[in-house]
């Protein structure tokens, strides 16, 4: 009895008020200053699995060869071959094997970036894990968040993942080559994106046929020139 009372009395409240992801924020800030020092433009590419992140990155780096020097850090499940696919574009690709991780963290990206010669690059593209929920709170040190959705995923996709879309600087609507066949309601989709993410620039593209990609390249080169 007496002991229990003493224990209760010795309890004390400790104010912490610390962000739980603050450790990630520290690594992200470190990445950002490293990237900024070399004038690198860094993209964090996010989507559900299968929306076409790898295809989009592959095509971008292939088409911009000779104009922008790019490299890729890709969060790969052990079963994926994304790094190999990207390497076909001629750009260096570093793989982070994520296992059952549902998001990339800044510390992993920092380590992967250490394997690249950043001075020789204009653009670094990070392909995040296919997930529109978990990665949203993890800053990687990027300049731009590029959120993809495929026309086949339907026009209400942004409504299902509003938090992620609200953090987007760029929204890519991919697979426009099969939009019509998929019964994609383009007007409603664009309206949903604009209202959820009024801050974002929108590009409608096909990473397969290349349609709409030129506008994206022009915009990207302009952003890079501003660095």
């Amino acid at each position: 009895m007496k002991e229990a009372a003493t224990e209760t009395e010795s309890r004390q409240v400790v104010e912490v008020n610390e962000g739980i992801l603050s450790k990630n924020d520290v690594f992200a800030a470190r990445n950002r200053s490293l990237f900024n020092a070399t004038g690198l433009l860094v993209l964090n590419v996010l989507s559900s699995p299968g929306s076409g992140k790898t295809a989009f990155i592959e095509r971008t780096l292939t088409d911009l060869r000779g104009r922008l020097r790019g490299a890729v850090i890709v969060g790969d499940l052990a079963t994926d071959n994304d790094a190999k696919r990207i390497a076909r574009s001629g750009a260096p690709a570093v793989q982070i094997t994520t296992g059952d991780m549902c998001h990339l963290e800044a510390e992993m990206v920092g380590k992967a970036a250490g394997q690249l010669n950043l001075d020789d690059l204009d653009v670094l593209i990070i392909e995040n894990v296919g997930n529109l929920v978990c990665p949203s709170g993890y800053d990687l040190g990027e300049n731009l968040r590029v959120v993809l959705l495929a026309a086949t995923e339907g026009e209400d996709k942004p409504l299902k993942y509003p938090v992620m879309f609200k953090t987007a600087d760029v929204v890519i609507v991919n697979k426009m080559d099969i939009a019509e066949a998929a019964g994609f309601d383009r007007a409603t989709a664009l309206d949903n994106i604009r209202r959820i993410a009024p801050q974002a620039v929108i590009f409608e593209v096909s990473a397969r046929t290349g349609q709409g990609m030129q506008q994206w390249y022009d915009w990207l080169e302009q952003r890079r020139a501003q660095m």
Binding site: S10, Q12, V14, V16, N17, E18, I20, S136, K166, R195
Partner: protein, 128 residues
């Protein structure tokens, strides 16, 4: 205790995301406990925003998993939910958005700032 939560959670599989978030929270908590020269954590109070992409129920379940065998085992987890709050710079008013679109209720503008709701914080602990 764990079984009861498992019944509420038909997925039966624990959420890896919330486990990793809870693991980070526990590391911060243990660090603060040590700084106080304390040996046990009795209570952990967290603030979880509506826009934090973390499910409070999954956090509670993850809490039992990650605290097992640590000085925080058996501690009470309190989760304070923080709603989203926006501000319209034109009208200079704050409002809680309802629905997907964050529209100023006064002028209809979508050009609003998110002021609260992204919180994922360890607020305070009770230790001895």
């Amino acid at each position: 205790m764990i079984e009861a939560v498992a019944i509420q959670n038909p997925k039966s599989k624990i959420d890896m995301h919330e486990v990793s978030v809870m693991q980070s929270a526990l590391e911060i908590a243990l660090e603060h406990m040590r700084r106080q020269n304390a040996a046990r954590i009795h209570r952990i109070h967290m603030r979880v925003g509506a826009l934090s992409s973390v499910v409070p129920e999954a956090l509670e379940f993850a809490f039992d998993v990650v605290t097992h065998g640590t000085p925080a085992e058996g501690a009470t987890l309190e989760i304070e939910r923080v709603p989203a709050v926006c501000r319209c710079p034109a009208c200079q008013i704050e409002f809680e958005p309802d629905g997907y679109f964050y529209e100023c209720p006064q002028c209809g503008s979508l050009n609003v700032e998110i002021r609260r709701g992204r919180e994922l914080e360890l607020a305070f602990l009770e230790v001895s």
